[in-house]
Structures are given as C-alpha cells and as structure tokens.
C-alpha cells in the first residue's frame, strides 16, 4: 500500500526487527495459513475420491447424472448446463469481492457496501442452486448410501459415487454458507462505520481471501466431479 518503500531491503534486514518481514498484518498471514490447511482438507477429500475411482472398475458417467436444471421438462437431457451457471455465479461473486476489497483500500464505503451486497447475493444464489441440485438428486434416489445411477458401461455401481459427491459438495457448500455469513457480518460492520473508525478496511480483505478460496475449491470440485 505504501509508496514510500523504494529500496528493497535484503533478507537479513527484513528479519532484523523493526519492520514486518512479510509486509502483511498478522490476521492476513494467519488467514493464509488457515486456507492452506483447509486446502489440505479439501485435497484429502478429492484425492480419496480419485483413489477410490482409480481402484474401481466402473464409474457413473457425470453427464448422465447431472443433466437437469430447474423448471426443466421431464426427461430433459442437458448435461453441464446447470453446473456452468453455478460456476459463473461463483466467478462473478469472486469478482465483486475483489472490487469490494479494492474499494476498501480506497476508503470508499459506498463501493464496499455495493460490492459486498452483490457478493452476498452471488453466494446465496449459488447455495440456492446447490440446494436445488441436492433436492433433485435426492428425488432421483441418490443420497449417502444410495446410488440409483449405473456405471457408464451399464454395470452395477457402488455407492461410492454418491457418498463422495454429497460429502465433498456438502463440505464445499458449508464453506460457501460460512462465507456468506462472514460477508454479511462484514457488510453490517461496514454499515456501522466500524472500518471508517479503524481507519482501514483490512477485515474486508481477509473475508475476501476466504471467499476467493471458496471459489478456488469450486474450480477443483466442478472440474473433478462434473467434467472428468
């Protein structure tokens, strides 16, 4: 942020005391380390999915499973359509989050409020889409421990597919939900002028990191479950 740092200090000097070696506040550094540990949690889920899929002879075809969308006529066959919408909702809400962080850096309260509201709407829209999809799959007979979908080659499938699907998208959805709650708290704090009083909007930046991470995880979940 500061434009006064002209000479880049050597490694020894940056750790010599008197300045922030990472040039970042404590909370932000800790948010990064939390996100790193969360990445390992999601990574463990996705790798176990991959391991089970690699160790199984057959696997359901995602295009045959995820092929409907809200208000679709019965028996519609539209693979990838609905999940594309979900993906774009999350990307757009990530963009509005960046804009909110940027507005915060400029101490632009109106910009923060506007973009936080848009981000929250995006998050709620995504959760609604996921709720619809879960409900739809449940009514098709899919749930933890129940898999009505045959393998792509027409052989009998195990319940691994639905177990992993509901566990991983559920865990991700829980993160989205937490992110929406955090964003709502940030919006309320902005409206109460908390950050104006503090003189900075660094909290928005930390909430933003979390929200981008949720988007990042969806990039992986979307690709691995729906495309591969």
């Amino acid at each position: 942020m500061s434009t006064t740092t002209t000479a880049s200090p050597t490694e020894a000097k940056s750790w010599g005391g008197g300045k922030s070696p990472f040039n970042a506040e404590y909370g932000k550094v800790m948010m990064w380390y939390f996100l790193m540990s969360d990445a390992f949690t999601f990574g463990a889920f996705l790798i176990s999915y991959g391991t089970v899929r690699f160790s199984t002879n057959g696997w359901p075809d995602p295009n045959a499973v995820f092929k409907s969308f809200p208000f679709a006529p019965e028996g519609v066959n539209a693979p990838l359509v609905f999940v594309s919408v979900m993906t774009f909702i999350l990307i757009v809400s990530s963009v509005t989050m960046v804009l909110a962080v940027q507005a915060g850096k400029n101490m632009d309260k109106q910009g923060v409020v506007r973009n936080m509201i848009l981000t929250i709407i995006g998050g709620i829209a995504f959760l609604s889409c996921q709720a619809w999809e879960w409900n739809h799959l449940f009514h098709e007979g899919a749930w933890w421990g129940a898999n009505p979908f045959l393998n792509a080659d027409g052989t009998a499938s195990s319940t691994n597919f639905t177990n992993f699907f509901f566990t991983i998208t559920g865990f991700h959805g829980f993160h989205v939900f937490s992110g929406v709650v955090i964003n709502i708290i940030m919006l309320i704090m902005t409206l109460m002028d908390k950050f104006e009083q503090r003189g900075h909007y660094l909290m928005i930046e930390k909430a933003g990191l979390y929200w981008h991470f949720v988007d990042l995880v969806w990039v992986f979940v979307f690709t691995i479950f729906y495309l591969l």
Binding site: T3, P21, Y33, V95, N106, F138, T155, D215, F220
Partner: protein, 152 residues
C-alpha cells in the same frame, strides 16, 4: 501495490484493469473447459478422452493460478510469504501420484486375483425404475453375488 506506480487514481485504474483482464481470462478458460466437456460426451476413443481430461486438468490449474495470484493477490506479496504457502502445497504432487497409483494397483491386483470381482464388472444390469425412493436398503444393490446369477 508494487505492480503499479503513479497517483492513487492511476493505481486504482491499473488494478481495475487487472481485475477485468483476469475476469475475462477466467471466463474464457471456463468456457473452453465446458466446450471440451461437451465434446467428450459420446467420445469413444480412449486416447482422445485421456487427452481431453489432461487438457481440462491443465486449464483447471491455470484457473487456480489466476484466482490465487490475482484475486487473492498472492503474486504481489513478499516472496517469503509466497514461499511459506506454496512450498508446503507441493506435497500434493506426491499425494496425487502416490494415492492414484495405489488405487490403480489395487484395482489391477483385485481383478487379477479375485475373478468374481472382475466378472461383476462385465455384467450389465437394468436401470432401476423411478419413484418409491429411499424406502429400503434394497433400492441400490452393490455389485454382489445376488445381482448376477449367471456368474454361478
């Protein structure tokens, strides 16, 4: 904001331009992924399917890079901070190779030594009727012996 100089207004404009650029890149990458995904429907060649999946994984990594580097701003952080985050994540390289190879090996060993298991994977079954869901454990049958009397 080490990546831009000038007045705050100019810096702001530069950041907004960067956000726009990254948004367009992410959208294009997603659209290309989806095009490949649609192209894969009905694709029968194993080689082409593998190539398509490999391309999708590369595009996925590119998207992850753009989100982390620009939206999460990691590219503009101090190098030491970047390293403390990225270096531990390198463990994933080993995780992915080791676990997927292990899964694959387990499948091959099982197919080799458990003939029954392997036969199950060749027997086609009828898709269950819709309706009357979640009423019993018999709704969904795993690949068990009762499913396929032909194997006895």
């Amino acid at each position: 904001m080490s990546h831009s100089h000038g007045t705050p207004a100019e810096q702001h404009a530069a950041v907004i331009a960067e956000i726009k650029k990254v948004t367009i890149i992410l959208s294009v990458l997603t659209i290309v992924e989806l095009i490949i995904g649609f192209a894969m429907i009905g694709m029968t060649s194993d080689f082409l399917r593998l190539a398509a999946k490999g391309t999708i994984v590369i595009l996925m990594m590119a998207k992850a890079f753009y989100i982390v580097a620009y939206f999460m701003h990691l590219k503009h952080e101090v190098k030491n901070l970047i390293m403390t985050i990225v270096v531990p994540l390198a463990l994933f390289i080993w995780f992915i190779i080791a676990f997927l190879a292990d899964g694959n090996s387990y499948k091959n060993l099982r197919n080799k030594y458990d003939r029954h298991y392997q036969e199950q994977a060749t027997i086609k079954v009828e898709k269950k009727e819709h309706g009357a869901k979640h009423e019993g454990t018999h709704e969904v049958k795993p690949a068990d012996a009762h499913e396929a009397p032909a194997s006895h």
